[in-house]
């Protein structure tokens, strides 16, 4: 395989892994990140958990 093509495949691979990483990471809750629209410490996160 010629070098130029190999470099292109490597870049695509990096982009693909990056995209998968960012999508998967966004699935994982970040405890340091404030809840939607809330300021840090404003305590306005919603408890909408399913009934136990």
């Amino acid at each position: 395989m010629e070098t130029g093509l190999l470099i292109q495949y490597i870049i695509i691979f990096i982009l693909f892994v990056g995209a998968v990483y960012f999508v998967v990471r966004s699935f994982i809750p970040n405890k340091n990140k404030p809840k939607a629209g809330c300021g840090k410490g404003c305590g306005c996160d919603v408890d909408l958990s399913p009934k136990k």
Binding site: S26, A36, C42, G43, C44, L48, K51
Partner: protein, 700 residues
């Protein structure tokens, strides 16, 4: 002091947001908390040699939280450690409802919050028949009172000049009734540093989220020992404050005939009429629906065309190679797939903002609430549900207008059931394949089938709301007690700001995820694990040596898709889709249409060697695809792949399944939670699987 925090506090409909826009101009950002009064709006104001951090709190009538919005207000004002605890609170009032604003101001001052009082809409005092003795009001409130008109800008300069004002000590007005003193004595021991009124607030609330569970439990013990109910304490305070303030305001505020209210009442006779009110509302909905569905069409076509031109241009100028292909058909096409929704979002939010600003949205809630309440939805849910028939993306975003958190969540969760326009190409193709083009009782059967599919969307949404309403618990129950504001001309600055916020929020937040998934799907569809993908032409010519030119190219495309990673995933899921009557080719269609439902038709066209640019609106191309699909044999059963059983199964699957990454991204953005997004996706896909399974097993 660096960046003093200024908080705007006030009842709904007093023009707080207009004042916020006036103070911050465009130096503002909106947090992704849904709802015009639930969003966290913050901005900056540079004046008096410093930069103020201005926060527009949700509108509230009282500091006793009855909703999430009001809880946010209480938490900010009661907790000095809160990051946005104010250096100054600007309590905004309007002349016609000044008493309620004064009660809110007094509550804030008694909590220990530094606050000044602003009377907005000062130019409407005469129309509203209000006469205020301002010197007396200032003496009564123990603060300077500023008279402004946020709409015209009158008095704003004066207000800004005094933002560094330090309000003097406030001598509280609310005397805690003696019957609660024993309980208060015990509560004071828990909060030795708090003001008396803050301790009372803690005692009078069932849940205080900023307190530890231990303290909350101790407060509950105190209430229990003294036989007190939290809401009784709240009621007592409200009644006492109301009586006292009414009496004390008599020499300060004079009310005569409210001309504005008279006009509003006349309009309401029409807009809230038991019959005409609904006709007008549904007429307006029809207009909105038309606008989203039809008016946005030319703009969407233009964007589509522009991206197609850009793609062709890039195809010509960029050197051949996989990277250029990813850039053109993965990234640029992915961005095109995001931008194309902007006209719909702008048009929908233009209508919604005008409805909200003019005061009509409150009437919509009043009209529709009784019909949607049994399903756990809100009167305002009708807007997302109806808009969902055009496209779920702007529809889900429009649920922001619903203040109650549970009702908003339910609306977001069920809106994607509504039959969006992207389902239409699939329905047309599948119905054309499996439903005879005959008449039944004078009606075309294919038309009836399409109608049933639309009906299924509505039933699916309401039925799911009913189920989810029983599963999701609410911290607070919602009840419909609200004020119908007077009608007014929309503040166009507010409308423009709102539309801009929604469109840019979608592009930046949801767009990011859509773009990432586009890249992933492109790579999966354009690479394969073995030789069959990369040497597809050799394999195809070996199998069919007579193929040439265009036919050969299409056959190679089909062969490559079959042997791409996406193709193998499609084959991998075959055991799961076999009970639904599908083969692996349909499995590929199901996976690729996760990008967007309408992609199913294009993918099937590639799978059946017709190329990827089949236009379903072109009868000849549609019939070619239909012919190819009709003759297709399911490798598992040996029967036609698209028979009545598998066709109905496929229709039901697409009616209920969450096959749209853009909707998933928007739901993620609007709920701020992957948990609810995944629950929704699992619920919809599970329901779709079950319905398709039952239909196929019964009909096969």
């Amino acid at each position: 002091m660096a960046n003093p925090t200024i908080i705007l506090l006030g009842n709904p409909n007093v023009g707080k947001t207009s004042l916020f826009n006036r103070l911050t101009k465009l130096n503002q950002k909106v947090g992704n908390y849904p709802g015009i009064t639930v969003e966290k709006r913050e901005g900056t104001l540079t004046a008096n040699g410093k930069k103020y951090h201005v926060v527009d709190l949700p509108g509230t009538y009282t500091l006793f939280p009855n909703s999430l919005d009001e809880e946010i207000v209480f938490n900010v004002l009661s907790d000095k450690n809160n990051s946005i605890y104010p250096d100054l609170t600007v309590v905004v009032a309007e002349p016609a409802t000044i008493k309620r604003s004064i009660i809110l101001y007094q509550q804030a001052r008694e909590l220990g919050v530094p606050a000044i009082f602003v009377v907005n809409m000062i130019d409407e005092m005469a129309d509203k028949g209000i006469d205020i003795d301002f010197p007396k009001l200032e003496a009564y409130l123990q603060t300077k009172v500023y008279k402004i008109s946020a709409r015209t800008g009158k008095g704003i300069e004066q207000l800004i000049k005094h933002l560094d004002e330090k309000p003097g000590f406030y001598f509280g007005g609310f005397q805690i009734p003696t019957e609660y003193q024993a309980a208060m004595d015990e509560a004071r021991k828990l909060f030795p540093l708090a003001t008396d009124y803050l301790t009372w607030q803690y005692l009078a609330q069932e849940q205080v989220s900023i307190l530890s569970p231990e303290l909350q439990s101790k407060l509950a013990d105190i209430r229990s020992r003294h036989g007190l109910q939290a809401h009784e304490l709240q009621k007592k305070e409200s009644l006492l404050r109301n009586d006292k303030t009414t009496a004390e305001l008599t020499p300060i505020v004079n009310k005569s005939q409210n001309q504005k209210l008279g006009n509003t009442n006349s309009i309401d006779k029409l807009l809230l009429h038991p019959v005409l009110g609904y006709i007008i509302f549904f007429g307006l909905l029809f207009l909105i629906f038309q606008a989203i569905y039809a008016w946005s069409g030319p703009l969407m076509d233009w964007i589509d065309g522009a991206f197609a031109d850009l793609t062709s241009y890039l195809d010509e100028v960029l050197p051949d190679g996989p990277l250029a292909s990813l850039f053109i058909y993965g990234i640029v096409a992915g961005i095109g797939g995001i931008v194309i929704f902007v006209p719909q979002i702008v048009i929908l939010f233009l209508f919604l903002s005008i409805m909200e600003e003019s005061g009509y949205m409150s009437r919509v809630v009043f009209l529709m609430d009784r019909w949607l309440k049994p399903f756990g939805l809100n009167g305002k849910s009708v807007i997302p549900l109806m808009s969902g028939a055009a496209c779920a993306i702007p529809a889900v975003m429009s649920a922001r207008n619903i203040e109650n958190a549970k009702e908003r969540l339910l609306t977001i969760l069920v809106t994607p059931f509504m039959t969006c326009s992207a389902r239409l190409p699939i329905y047309i193709v599948i119905i054309g394949l499996v439903i005879p083009d005959d008449t039944f009782l004078g009606f075309n059967m294919q038309g009836m089938a399409l109608f049933v599919m639309y009906l299924l969307g509505i039933i699916g949404a309401l039925f799911s709301a009913l189920i989810l309403n029983r599963i999701i618990k609410s911290v607070r129950s919602s009840f419909l007690i609200f004020e119908l504001p007077t009608y007014k001309m929309p503040d166009w600055k507010n409308v423009a700001t709102n539309v801009w916020d929604k469109a840019s929020g979608f592009l930046l937040d949801a767009g990011k995820i859509i773009l990432l998934i586009s890249i992933i799907l492109w790579v999966l569809g354009n690479f394969g694990p073995n030789d069959k993908f990369y040497q597809a032409e050799d394999y195809v010519t070996q199998q069919a040596p007579d193929l040439q030119g265009d036919e050969l190219e299409k056959a190679v495309g089909s062969y490559q898709l079959e042997h791409s990673f996406l193709g193998y995933i499609g084959m991998g899921i075959e055991p799961f889709v076999r009970p639904l009557g599908y083969d692996w080719k349909m499995g590929i269609g199901l996976i690729s249409s996760f990008a967007a439902r309408e992609v199913f038709v294009g993918t099937m066209a590639v799978v059946y060697s017709l190329g990827d640019d089949v236009d379903i609106e072109d009868d000849e191309q549609k019939n070619t695809l239909l012919g190819k699909m009709k003759s297709e044999i399911n490798a598992n059963t040996g029967k036609p792949a698209y028979n009545l059983a598998s066709g109905i199964s496929l229709l039901l699957f697409y009616a209920f399944a969450m096959q749209c990454m853009a909707t998933i991204a928007v739901v993620r953005k609007e709920t701020g939670s992957w948990k609810w997004t995944l629950i929704q996706t699992a619920f919809m896909t599970g329901l779709a699987y079950l319905a398709a399974f039952i239909a196929y097993q019964l009909l096969k």
